[in-house]
């Protein structure tokens, strides 16, 4: 269930592609897997009804919802019903703790964010003064900025100003003018692609020439059309990099490009794809295990009662290790994701300033699980 309408529909739109690609990739092989897509809207009420609707159907697991706030509203419904819920884009602290059936493959903010500050420090060792912007009405950005601010202070840098913006803001003249007076060497932004992209563009237009580091919320090719040539040089913390050189990722990028033309897949698409992959692989292992036990071929899962199947799937899902486009991932017993690779990329725009790529910076620090 993803947000296909409302103001989070940009996320849902990316996720939908990932789910559909995964369905065509894994759907054909046994055990057959198909996607039943519901619009969860961008609010809690719509998400609740959509979730309940799906729970009444013979689904083995749920992927979604798109927003962390929605997860807090709907996951407590799915958990007692005994349906595994795999979050593909919820990053707030406390989501896997909702219950034993709730897990996620989207890495929590605390892991990804500090990397880009470290990268900025490597690029400019003389870095001292840091300004922070965050979108105060976005749950992701408000959690991320706390991590950013902690790691700025942890590195001994000076936090010169914290500006609160809103995802609906479009003109940042005032916070930018205030910030430029504090003469920062680095500006750190936690926002979504649209408002964040506009902020980057306006910072550059107002004459800021220093480094800009953006949080994971802006890790989307959607920013290219927003800040255009001014995106160039932007540092971005990534939980997914289209440039990762694993076989699985190359296959995923190839599938994506076959359907969508030359562009690189966004993180939300990769995460949704990975969520399907995880469920598919867990089901396959379950199938094998059950077939061995009951000694019937290919019928093992079909004969299992749905509640039992869901329970068994949840158990086996949390035990596995998966090689996904996001890199190698596994889960804690609680359902929190343990992701091996995170990246910091620097945006490189083409000569016309229309599109660009996230060029990986060398030696990304390996995250400690």
């Amino acid at each position: 269930m993803v947000a296909l309408t409302g103001n989070a529909s940009l996320i849902g739109q990316d996720q939908r592609i990932g789910l559909e690609l995964a369905e065509s990739e894994f759907g054909g092989s046994t055990p057959a897997l198909s996607v039943r897509l519901e619009d969860g809207g961008s609010d809690e009420q719509t998400a609740t009804t959509a979730f309940r609707r799906l729970l009444q159907q013979p689904v083995v697991a749920l992927i979604g919802p798109s927003l962390s706030q929605q997860a807090f509203a709907v996951n407590p419904i799915a958990d007692p019903a005994g349906v595994p819920v795999l979050g593909a884009s919820n990053t707030a602290i406390g989501i896997p703790q909702i219950g034993p059936f709730v897990s996620r493959i989207s890495a929590p903010v605390s892991k990804v964010a500090p990397l880009s500050i470290q990268a900025a420090k490597r690029l400019n060792p003389k870095l001292e003064r840091v300004a922070v912007f965050f979108a105060q009405d976005d749950a992701y950005s408000t959690s991320e900025t706390k991590i950013f601010q902690k790691s700025i202070q942890g590195l001994g840098l000076k936090l010169v100003t914290v500006q609160r913006t809103s995802t609906a803001d479009i003109d940042f003249q005032k916070p930018i003018a205030d910030t430029l007076q504090t003469r920062p060497d680095l500006i750190v932004i936690s926002a979504l692609p649209n408002d964040g992209g506009n902020l980057v563009r306006q910072l550059r237009e107002m004459g800021y020439a220093g480094l800009i580091a953006a949080g994971n919320g802006m890790n989307s090719p959607n920013i290219y059309s927003v800040c255009q040539r001014y995106c160039d040089g932007l540092l971005i913390a990534q939980a997914y990099s289209p440039e990762a050189k694993t076989a699985v990722n190359r296959r995923f990028v190839q599938l994506y490009q076959k359907q969508r033309g030359g562009t690189a897949p966004p993180q939300f698409t990769a995460q949704a794809y990975a969520a399907m992959q995880v469920i598919h692989e867990a089901l396959t292992r379950l199938d094998r295990q059950e077939s061995l036990r009951s000694q019937s071929r290919n019928q093992a899962l079909a004969t299992m009662a749905l509640p039992e199947l869901r329970r068994a799937l949840n158990t086996i899902l949390l035990q596995g290790t998966y090689d996904t486009p996001l890199g190698e991932i596994r889960f804690t017993p609680e359902g929190e994701v343990i992701q091996k690779d995170f990246y910091v990329a620097r945006v490189k725009m083409d000569a016309k300033g229309k599109t660009g790529r996230f060029a990986l910076l060398p030696n990304p620090s390996p995250a400690t699980p």
């Binding site: 809690e44 009420q45 009804t49 807090f72 007692p80 105060q136 009405d137 959690s143």
Partner: protein, 302 residues
């Protein structure tokens, strides 16, 4: 039907009634989502921070929910009493905008305060019922009670005074009706209904955040009343039930569902300029049922 959807429809009907009450005396107040948000925040804070309310059973005690409702009602009532005196001097669209401004200020303050959880809100709100059906039964009882009270109100002196103010405030004042107090009464009642609805909604949604009382919600709830009809309490109840259910019932049309929903809101008022449910509708129905027509009992325009 799915009990979860039924629950949301019932909550929609309650919010519809909250917008309806001031509108019945001609006051276009859009403060409902604000009081709704306050009710929800009260419930979210009390039930997650006060262990004393949690009880000993596996589910959260209903008595605690009732206590939250009482506190929410008290808080919203007092607030409405104070604000009402100030804002009800405004009329028409100016009142609407002033109330929207208040709701927006409340939203921004909630976002910025630490103890309301900022953008993420408050989550892990305990559940007084095991199933959505439990919520639906509880909310149905609440709705029935409030409808009954509205019906009583409409048949008594303050109710008739409200209708008189709506028809012509000057004339009503010249008949000795205390228009300021009557309008204030409607405003406070509206706040109470919204506040206790917020309490139920917070438990039902497991979580609560600042987004739940915003401008969009103001306009949607107004649509409930205008669509359903604003001259008898059945109008907003009908509008709230139908317009909450409609986007969900339209799921089979897939990507077109909100387009169809918009078309219904657009076309509805063209066919039913007084709203779908009007006192005249009852009269017609009664006539069809071959009973002697009785004078409009609703206190609206004849």
């Amino acid at each position: 039907m799915d009990a979860g959807l039924l629950e949301q429809m019932l909550l929609g009907a309650l919010l519809g009634l909250s917008v309806y009450l001031p509108l019945r005396c001609g006051q276009l107040s859009l403060a409902t989502p604000g009081f709704f948000a306050i009710g929800g925040t009260v419930a979210a804070l009390l039930s997650t921070r006060l262990p004393a309310l949690a009880g000993s059973g596996s589910t959260y005690p209903i008595t605690s929910v009732l206590l939250e409702m009482a506190l929410a009602a008290l808080l919203t009532g007092v607030l409405a009493l104070g604000l009402g005196r100030v804002v009800l001097r405004l009329r028409g669209i100016y009142l609407a905008i002033a109330t929207i401004a208040l709701v927006e200020i409340l939203r921004v303050v909630t976002l910025n305060l630490e103890f309301t959880g900022g953008a993420l809100g408050i989550f892990g709100i305990p559940q007084p019922f095991d199933s959505a059906a439990g919520y639906a039964a509880f909310t149905l009882a609440l709705l029935a009670l409030i409808c009954w009270l509205c019906d009583r109100l409409e048949k008594t002196r303050p109710g008739r005074a409200m209708a008189a103010i709506r028809d012509d405030e000057l004339a009503a004042a010249s008949q000795g009706i205390n228009t300021a107090d009557t309008k204030l009464l409607a405003f406070v009642l509206s706040a109470l209904v919204a506040g206790i609805t917020g309490v139920v909604a917070a438990h039902f949604l497991n979580s609560w955040n600042a987004k739940l009382g915003n401008f969009d919600a103001s306009i949607t709830t107004l649509a409930f009343v205008v669509f359903g009809g604003s001259r008898t309490w059945l109008g907003p109840v009908f509008g709230g039930l139908l317009l909450t259910a409609l986007p969900e019932l339209l799921r089979p049309v897939g990507d077109l569902r909100l387009i169809v929903f918009g078309a219904v809101i657009l076309v509805g008022p063209l066919f039913f300029p007084q709203g779908v449910i009007t006192p005249e509708l009852f009269k017609t129905l009664k006539r069809i049922m071959l009973r002697p027509p009785t004078p409009a009992a609703q206190g609206g325009k004849p």
